[in-house]
Amino acid sequence: MPLLAYCIAEPGSNIEVPLRGVQGVPPSTIIESGLICFLSEYEPSGVNSTHVREAALAFNRVLQELLGQTAIVPFRFPTLLGDEAEIRTFLQHHAAHYRDLLGRLRDVVQIEINLTINKSSQPSGSGREYLLARQHLNRTLADAATLIRRYLGAQIRDWRQSQSSSATRCYMLVSRDDLKSTFEKFRELKIASELQARVTGPWPATDFIALPPDEHENSLQSSAPPVTTKPYA
């Protein structure tokens, strides 16, 4: 039976392995090259879209339980492996990269803020008015992101953001010790009335994880298979 890979972490004697994983199967672990990987058996046949959703949520619960204890580098869901040897080979190849990464992420977690426009109105008016309205929304989104970044100041260890025409996503790394106070600060923050901000977290620091150089090259090939042994990194 194929193995579903959850994540990689630094091995530690006090990590409690979640009792229940995807499809109700308890995750197991393997330790290789100074890294621990969490896996469970997975039966992909006969899985419909409802089961996939349940499986994705169960997968996420395992990640959250582990993230509560230590830094993790998650695999994309569903990353399926033929056997343990595959993941051992992968870890042997990239051990130095992931040990370094996990060392840097040990004390931090990721918080995401999704800034969106309140009302998604149908376009109307003149062409000039349309472009001016767009310009205004772009500026409002960018200003809100800047405001949040300044507001949180030194609590942010690292910051990334991306903007589309109707939303800005901000990703920040926050110390585990500052997590509670950061959420408290968000509750007091006020933003432009035409915007909504959805703050979620803590998440694994997936938007701050760089691929190992050779994996990055592979990931850019369009022929890459949909299911791979690559973590987010």
Partner: protein, 109 residues
């Protein structure tokens, strides 16, 4: 529920799926039309957004005449309305057009 400040704080508790496990294009027999529409509309929306950014940049830079601004704005507005209309026809929301490109991130960000 959003609070009056406009900030909605939602701690991760297993109820939400994190970034990276977003939906994929489904191209099975039943959903092939919607899957293809999603792919095509996503690409058109990407181009529309690129054109819009360029138009705003040029408008801010003063390199467009009033007539050109009006024409570009009208064209982009019509295109946006058409994408919405087609999206509605296939049961797609604007968020559905933001395809997850795996390690490369989302298409429209």
């Amino acid at each position: 529920m959003p609070n009056p400040t406009g900030i909605h704080v939602e701690p991760a508790n297993g109820a939400a799926v994190p970034t990276g496990t977003a939906s994929r294009i489904e191209c099975n027999q039943e959903t092939i039309e919607q899957g293809l529409a999603k792919l095509v509309l996503s690409l058109i929306e990407l181009l529309r957004q690129l054109l819009e950014r360029q138009a705003i940049r040029r408008m801010e830079g003063g390199s467009l005449t009033d007539e050109q601004i009006e024409e570009m704005g009208n064209a982009l507005m019509t295109l946006e309305a058409k994408i919405r209309e087609l999206g509605n026809h296939f049961g797609l929301t604007p968020a559905d057009l933001n395809l997850d490109l795996g390690p490369l991130g989302n298409l429209l960000e």
